[in-house]
């Protein structure tokens, strides 16, 4: 067991003091002079042609400084996977809430009044809300020009349809597998539209300078990605766009990935003579006009031997991506790779479809499509176990992947698998048994998730002449603990306290490239980059010391930020003393580090089905069901997560605690309800409820460490995995409690009561 200085220690977060004293700055706290306020006019129709937009009256309102409509930016289409997204609707609207026009004014009241004065004439078109209907042969096309959209090579739209991506993965011959099976199970599971629920709304401020360069301050989770997306959409060089993050983001969970409010700010800022324009989305706009989690239909067919061995599995996954593709196609890819579950199955076939509908745009959401497939494969696993009379834990242990097994969907050779340890930990801690007390039941679920590969992170570590250090990074802090983890890694290399280290927030002009702070990738990728940069800086410092002490670098030791020769430990020099003695007139030590994942099987160099690491987890839920009301009380959740190495066990636990509660909401009650005309009926926290302190179970987290040979100190990732197995664990527990099996989320009291009475 290696003894580390900072790694593996439950150190308090470096940003906690700022946050508990109210000094932490978020997007809406930034202050600008000469600011103009933007407001957005949004479509009331789910699908309609825009015949005319009359802004004459609005233009004349005193205090209005700019108005913009989509037609002015008709050549601009954005989008990471498929470039289908206009900054403002151009010829038609495709969902209720789509931006149609925007106003910048000297205050918010005038901007709102101006919106009232804009007249838009629409011609309604038939709208489609059901993805299955959208997939039908003669369904009206939501994107008539889809065939002409640019897209990254790995995306495969089906021409002249509403299917913007179809992906297939698999191995073996499923017909053969089914024919050899003793039992074949076929089930369909669905999930609902879910909101991220970050407490901080989206905000952006944009300002042009006289040279035509735009600076955007925005709470976005991938500033370099955003810069690239904006540059591509507008056809301008990268250096003409500068993205600056506020120091902190108040929660993201994938929802702040861009191309929403900042694009409208940019459109307005083009017309305000270099005055900055700010748009703060209202909570309602966050609900209707940012992104949501993909509603899904998962059809899963599994063939097993009577001893529980899985021989074959076919999964058809349909993701309802709403009006624009957003990250839908890559969500579909990633989810499809995990759709068969973390099991060794010789014959597998997965078909993933990403489908347009005239609803709120679906995009990246914690888990990136995998909570939905895990819901399906883990629910069905218990259906199988129940039918065969096999214990749910035993059937999983029998089938889960072992080291060097191949992933059933992508044929990647899998290593660093801590799943068995996760399941066994739960089995041991919970004294797992199937005997249930009155209306109380227990259920288990496990899952795995990959990280987007390839992807790159780069960083600069700057050691100042007084020994303090800065990590210049484009990773963002939205609560996951990024700043603390990166500081811990630098602290480990230089043996300095965390207090000595500042971690920057992103500025794409100054902080080097990072793919994004998503996909649970930051500890691994940026962590590796920081480690390399720290080693680089350390080498330079040790070189100075070796010249001063006149010994080889290998004879030097670092302790508490002081360097000495092992032969003469009484003569120590601090990092500051070393730098100033070498550079009397002043200098920094600059360490650089880049990390880019190289794996075989890269497709088009952009997205590989082979992932540099996978995360594994198992959740066990204990629930009590009230048979008179159908209400479910979650008593306890045990959550075991293989993180590779917990750089900070305190923050890891925090992620598990938070993820479990975040997973309970969509399991039992969260649902965005869409009305007959495609409008969101509950776009507020009044009517869309996320869990409160009174709704939580006892949470027992377990950190399992199955080292990854390439991860920094063996670390992998954790953030998204924590919401993945929860729904199925709860559902399996409900079945154990009262014998009711619900297959569509959320599992509401009504559904339970109805099923219970009908038993």
């Amino acid at each position: 067991m290696k003894n580390y200085f900072a790694i593996g220690k439950p150190l308090p977060r470096v940003d906690a003091l700022e946050k508990v004293t109210g000094k932490a700055i978020y997007g809406d706290d930034l202050r600008f002079s000469n600011l103009l306020y933007g407001k957005v006019l949004r479509s009331k129709y789910a699908h309609a042609k825009i015949l005319n937009i009359n802004i004459d009256k609005a233009k004349k309102l005193p205090g209005v400084r700019a108005i913009v409509v989509g037609k002015e930016m008709s050549s601009v289409l954005g989008g990471e996977a498929i470039m289908d997204y206009p900054f403002l609707a151009i010829n038609k609207v495709r969902y209720v809430g789509e931006p149609v026009a925007a106003v910048a004014a000297i205050n918010e009241e005038i901007a709102e009044e101006a919106l009232d004065l804009i007249e838009v004439t629409y011609e309604e078109l038939p709208a489609i809300f059901d993805p299955l209907k959208a997939m039908e042969k003669d369904a009206p096309l939501i994107h008539e020009n889809m065939n002409s959209y640019k897209h990254i090579p790995v995306i495969k739209p089906i021409e002249n349809s509403n299917i913007c991506h179809h992906v297939q993965f698999g191995n073996g011959d499923t017909s053969k597998g089914f024919s050899e099976s003793d039992h074949v199970f076929e089930d369909t599971f669905t999930t609902q539209m879910v909101q991220h629920g970050s407490i901080e709304p989206h905000v952006a401020i944009a300002q042009y300078d006289p040279t035509g360069k735009i600076t955007v301050w925005v709470n976005n989770d991938g500033p370099h990605r955003l810069r690239k997306d904006l540059a591509k959409a507008q056809g301008v060089p990268l250096k003409q766009i500068r993205i600056i993050n506020p120091p902190y983001i108040g929660g993201g969970f994938g929802g702040k990935g861009g191309l929403k409010e900042e694009t409208i700010c940019i459109a307005l800022a083009q017309k305000t003579q270099c005055r900055p324009v700010k748009i703060l989305l209202s909570r309602e706009e966050v609900f209707t006009s940012t992104i949501v989690r993909h509603p899904s239909i998962v059809k899963i067919k599994t063939g097993v031997k009577k001893d529980g061995t899985i021989l074959a599995r076919e999964v058809k996954v349909i993701y309802d991506t709403g009006a624009y593709a957003e990250k839908g196609p890559t969500v579909t890819i990633q989810a499809s790779t995990a759709a068969a579950g973390p099991y060794k199955i010789p014959h597998v076939k997965v078909d993933g479809y990403c489908v347009y509908t005239n609803k709120t745009i679906a995009g990246a959401y914690r888990g990136y499509g995998i909570p939905q497939v895990a819901w399906a494969h883990e629910s069905q696993m218990d259906i199988i176990a129940d039918k065969l009379g096999i214990d749910p834990i035993e059937i999983r242990l029998k089938n889960i992947l072992d080291e060097e097994d191949i992933c059933p969907t992508t044929r990647q050779v899998m290593t660093s698998i801590g799943l068995k340890e996760c399941i066994e930990k739960i089995k041991e801690d919970s004294a797992w048994n199937k005997v249930h007390r009155q209306n109380i039941g227990r259920g288990i679920a496990c899952a795995f998730k990959n990280t987007k590969t390839p992807s790159g992170s780069a960083t600069i570590v700057k050691i100042n002449s007084d020994g303090s250090a800065e990590i210049l990074t484009s990773s963002i802090e939205e609560g996951q603990g990024v700043k603390t983890i990166l500081a811990q890694i630098l602290a480990e290399e230089l043996k300095v306290p965390l207090d000595n280290i500042t971690v920057s927030s992103p500025d794409t002009d100054l902080t080097p490239f990072d793919a994004s702070s998503t996909s649970s990738r930051t500890t691994f990728h940026m962590g590796n980059a920081v480690k390399k940069a720290a080693e680089d800086a350390k080498k330079q410092i040790l070189t100075i010391a070796s010249e001063i002490f006149k010994v080889g670098i290998r004879d030097l030791r670092i302790e508490n930020g002081k360097i000495y020769a092992k032969q003469n430990p009484s003569k120590k020099l601090s990092i500051s003393e070393l730098i100033t003695s070498r550079y009397g007139a002043g200098m920094d030590i600059i360490g650089r580090g880049s990390y880019y994942t190289e794996v075989p099987g890269q497709i088009g160099g952009v997205r590989s089905s082979q992932s540099i690491f996978w995360m594994y987890a198992a959740h066990e839920a204990e629930v009590k069901v009230d048979p008179e009301t159908g209400r479910v009380e979650v008593l306890r959740i045990r959550a075991a997560h293989d993180v590779g190495k917990a750089i900070n066990p305190l923050t890891c636990e925090g992620q598990i605690d938070g993820g479990v509660v975040h997973g309970i909401g969509p399991a039992l009650f969260e649902e965005m309800i869409i009305g007959k005309k495609g409008e969101v009926l509950n776009p507020s926290f009044l009517d869309y409820k996320i869990p409160t302190a009174l709704d939580i179970p006892e949470i027992i987290p377990f950190i399992i460490e199955k080292h990854h040979k390439e991860g920094p100190y063996g670390a992998k990732g954790i953030g998204e995995m924590t919401v993945v197995p929860t729904a199925a664990a709860i559902s399996n527990a409900i079945y154990n409690a009262i014998g009711v099996r619900i297959k569509d989320l959320p599992i509401t009291p009504e559904k339970i009561l109805k099923a219970f009475i009908n038993q």
Partner: protein, 291 residues
């Protein structure tokens, strides 16, 4: 959609008569502002755009909870849900009201919102009205023209509508003493999470001849959120009166009560929950008689 609140003129009178004069003067264009937790949301939604706001929070004579053996309980217009729930006399003698107050929103909402304000908003899903109806409360309404006392069960007319005139101020809630051998309970099922609007609210006050005999001499079953306004389940009440209370009688009364309701949304489930919660509330109320 939420917007900036439209501009208005603000008054903060320090006497009741000043407040009433202002109401009369700005007939229809003024709104009374106490807790404001409902009012300000409606003003942000532009559902209400009063030109004048009359803040009554400086009228100290409206902030009281008084009790005596003869007249019972009197609650002034400025009493917040928190004060009500924390009041010892209410916990001791009218605990059903404390229970209903605790069902309202979160701590922050309860600290600001007044029970009178809750009544005046007249949401079909409000919690304090069913409790007050079960307690057979009365309301004092004052205007420049004089005052009137109305029974709370006659106060609500439609969802979010009541008999309060635009020139009237609801200044006091009066709750008569409960006869001996009485017990009450307020139970509620939230729509979704613990801090949420009420899906089904049941307020029950039951009186028996004596604790051993257990024959019901009087009962009021008030239901919230299952009809356009808070309502009494009068058929269920009539079924119970004169009968010896036991589990089977309670269950039957609950079913009768359920049939009296007319919920608009989630109707099937709500009606089923009325059965469950009337049963539980009656059981609880009867238990409290014995204590």
């Amino acid at each position: 959609m939420l917007r900036k609140i439209k501009e208005f003129e603000y008054f903060a009178p320090s006497t009741l008569s000043d407040a009433i004069s202002l109401l009369a003067q700005y007939n229809g264009n003024a709104k009374i502002f106490a807790g404001g937790t409902d009012l300000l949301i409606q003003m942000k939604q532009r559902k209400l755009t009063p030109e004048y706001l009359i803040d009554i929070k400086n009228i100290s004579e409206l902030n009281y909870i008084k009790y005596n053996e003869d007249e019972g309980l009197k609650i002034g217009a400025l009493v917040t849900h928190s004060s009500l729930a924390n009041s010892e006399i209410i916990q001791e003698k009218f605990n059903i009201l404390a229970e209903a107050s605790l069902a309202v929103g979160s701590v922050q909402t309860r600290n600001k919102g007044t029970i009178v304000g809750n009544i005046c908003t007249s949401s079909p899903s409000a919690d304090t009205p069913p409790a007050l109806i079960a307690l057979d409360a009365r309301l004092k309404l004052i205007s420049a023209k004089g005052e009137r006392i109305v029974k709370i069960k006659d106060f609500f007319t439609d969802p979010f509508k009541n008999i309060l005139k635009e020139t009237e101020l609801l200044t006091e809630i009066q709750v008569p003493n409960l006869p001996p051998n009485s017990g009450g309970a307020y139970l509620w099922l939230p729509k979704i999470t613990a801090v949420d609007e009420t899906l089904v609210g049941v307020g029950v006050v039951i009186t028996v001849d004596d604790a051993e005999d257990n024959v019901c001499t009087d009962v009021r079953i008030a239901l919230g959120s299952v009809a356009p306004t808070p309502m009494r389940a009068e058929m269920a009440e009539n079924f119970l009166k004169g009968k010896r209370i036991n589990d089977s009688i309670i269950k039957q009364a609950a079913e009768i009560a359920s049939n009296e309701t007319s919920p608009r949304s989630r109707a099937e489930y709500r009606k089923e929950m009325v059965k469950v919660y009337v049963k539980r509330a009656l059981t609880q109320a009867v238990k409290r008689i014995e204590q």
